[in-house]
């Protein structure tokens, strides 16, 4: 963990991450929109790491209670997001046994 970070570097990180998110999503077919929303929902569950860090350094009961609920909610976000996404994605399957082809076939058809 970085002990200090200048505002400028933070802005660079935010800028690059924002472009990354945009580029990664912009090619997704709408068939995957629901699993994708659920998948990105899982990814922001990384907040549980922040909540853990906060809870570890708690020094009084109030901080411990808030930290406990922070981790609880974060863990729910991570696990629930993962399970739901995985369940949805596992159901998508092609009709032919040539997985690599179907996606491109679809575009060229009619």
């Amino acid at each position: 963990m970085l002990t200090s970070m200048t505002l400028i570097i933070a802005l660079y990180i935010f800028m690059l991450a924002a472009f990354t998110g945009y580029v990664v999503i912009s090619r997704v077919p709408s068939i995957l929109h629901t699993p994708l929303m659920s998948g990105s929902n899982f990814i922001h569950g990384i907040v549980v790491v922040g909540a853990l860090t906060a809870l570890f350094t708690a020094t009084n009961i109030v901080e411990q209670i808030i930290g406990f609920f922070g981790v609880l909610l974060g863990a729910g976000n991570v696990t629930g997001g993962y399970v739901v996404t995985d369940r949805m994605l596992a159901m998508f399957r092609p009709s032919t046994k040539k997985p690599g082809q179907s996606a491109t076939d679809k575009k060229t058809a009619s």
């Binding site: 929109h33 629901t34 899982f42 159901m91």
Partner: protein, 475 residues
């Protein structure tokens, strides 16, 4: 001790890379499962490694450390087990509200992180505190807003809560909350003893605003709202990542924030609405002009006749809507489709971007029934094929095939992109009754010469169709 900092920092870097790689994988049905599993490993790793931080806490924390660790493990186990169990067992039709709920939890977690950061006065520069408070505000809105979205989609909250002057009221609540946020920052900077009070009022205000903001929005608009709150939580996580000096949170949060913004706008566009229109217009309540539009005689036809027509057609396009899922008839539909295919009929599914309760939701529901994804076509890919298709079969869909959207400027749904089912040589519509869609608009498609209505529950109608095909044989 410095070694631990490196390990924890690098684990975050690795996790960020795996998240982006996983998200990229999720952009194609072929690699999607691998994508989520990859991201999952990244998450498991970074959570496990974060426990190493227990070895480098400041001295004043040491006496509390065993309790803190115990609480951490308990919270992880409890939250993980409950959410995991619920996620495993929930029905696919209820998926959107589950996503909303999990998303709200993430927002709540981010708000909790902010609360602790405020209590600890960490790096109390105005900027730092400002970011903390902003993240808290967004996280709180996402938490309570998502809970309302969940309640609406789950049918626990049937009607939007609306009253006159609501927009003004919400505006006042929002400005009041902002003012409390500013006061929180100011009192923190001064080290004043009122800091805690203002912080508490601020959190209460932010949570309340999330309720106020979501309550008036109609259930049909919830997909856009869920996607928006997903974006909010991402942003809140990114901001709290800055507060905690944790780049992994910043990256993951911001990637979700920007991806979510794009998804939200795509969804709003597919519904032919602007985002502000969804949030502030109270659509769906005021469309009382239901009886307008074409009147005339609907032709109805027996399921057996419709099935026979399709059996001897050369091409059929099926347009499923949420009504199909409500009737739990996806399995039956696919059984029917397989029989048609066996008889040599070319069958395709056409999905409107907003079919179901969430974009892509219908795809998930069809996939659950075993329909292969390469039979399913997006609107843009299939719309030109309708004119050369023998039969369009509309099941439980209404507004997405309403030709008024193309022609009738006075129609509330004018301009919404629709599936060109009306251009097929023959149209069958399986529908429960003669009512209108959620927008309350009459559908001229139902009165067209080449349209025949098959009235009845989708499950019952499809069962009859399957029986008919069985009796016809496959030759």
């Amino acid at each position: 001790m410095i070694l631990i900092e490196y390990i924890v920092g690098l684990s975050g870097l690795l996790a960020s890379a795996l998240f982006i790689y996983g998200l990229k994988g999720m952009s194609s049905p072929v690699t999607a499962v691998k994508g989520i599993v990859t991201a999952g490993w990244g998450m498991a790793f970074v959570v496990a490694v974060s426990f190493l931080q227990a070895f480098r806490v400041p001295d004043d924390v040491l006496p509390h450390l065993p309790v803190n660790l115990g609480l951490a493990v308990l919270a992880l186990a409890l939250g993980g087990l409950l959410a995991g169990w619920k996620g495993r067992t929930v029905a696919m039709t209820a998926m959107p509200q589950m996503v909303a709920l999990y998303n709200g939890m993430g927002g709540g977690s981010a708000a909790a992180v902010a609360a602790i950061a405020l209590m600890k006065h960490e790096g109390g520069t105005p900027l730092h505190l400002g970011v903390t408070v902003t993240g808290a505000l967004i996280g709180c809105i996402s938490l309570t807003g998502s809970i309302i979205a969940w309640a609406k989609l789950d049918g626990r909250m049937k009607k939007p809560v609306r009253f006159s002057g609501q927009q003004v009221f919400n505006g006042v609540v929002f400005i009041g909350t902002l003012a409390l946020g500013v006061m929180t920052v100011v009192t923190q900077l001064q080290g004043s003893s009122d800091g805690g009070l203002f912080a508490m009022l601020f959190f209460a205000g932010a949570l309340f605003f999330g309720l106020c903001m979501t309550a008036p929005i109609g259930g049909a608009d919830m997909p856009v709202v869920i996607s928006l709150y997903n974006t909010f939580t991402g942003l809140a996580v990114g901001l709290e990542g800055y507060v905690m000096s944790n780049p992994a949170l910043m990256i993951a949060g911001m990637v979700v924030g920007s991806a979510g913004t794009l998804l939200t706008l795509l969804m709003a566009k597919a519904m032919n609405r602007s985002l502000s229109n969804v949030l502030f217009s109270n659509f769906g309540a005021s469309s009382g002009q239901a009886a307008q539009g074409p009147q005339g005689q609907m032709k109805s036809v027996d399921p057996a006749d419709a099935a026979t027509t399709m059996r001897y057609a050369s091409s059929v396009i099926i347009i499923p809507g949420y009504g199909l899922a409500v009737a739990q008839a996806q399995q039956k539909l696919y059984e029917f489709v397989k029989m048609l295919q066996a008889a040599g009929v070319d069958v395709k599914f056409a999905i409107h971007p907003v079919a179901g309760r969430m974009p892509g939701h219908m795809n998930v529901l069809l996939a659950e029934a075993g329909v292969p994804y390469d039979m399913i076509y997006d609107m843009d890919d299939i719309n030109d094929s309708f004119a050369t298709t023998d039969v369009a079969l509309v099941i439980g869909a209404n507004d997405v095939v309403n030709p008024s959207a193309r022609t009738d400027k006075s129609s509330p749904i004018y301009g919404m992109p629709i599936l060109n089912a009306d251009q097929a040589k023959q149209v069958f519509v399986i529908k429960r009754g003669q009512g209108t869609g959620y927008s309350g608009v009459q559908n001229p498609l139902f009165f067209q010469k080449n349209t025949s209505m098959v009235f009845g529950d989708a499950q019952a109608v499809l069962s009859k169709m399957v029986e008919t095909l069985k009796s016809l044989g496959t030759n």
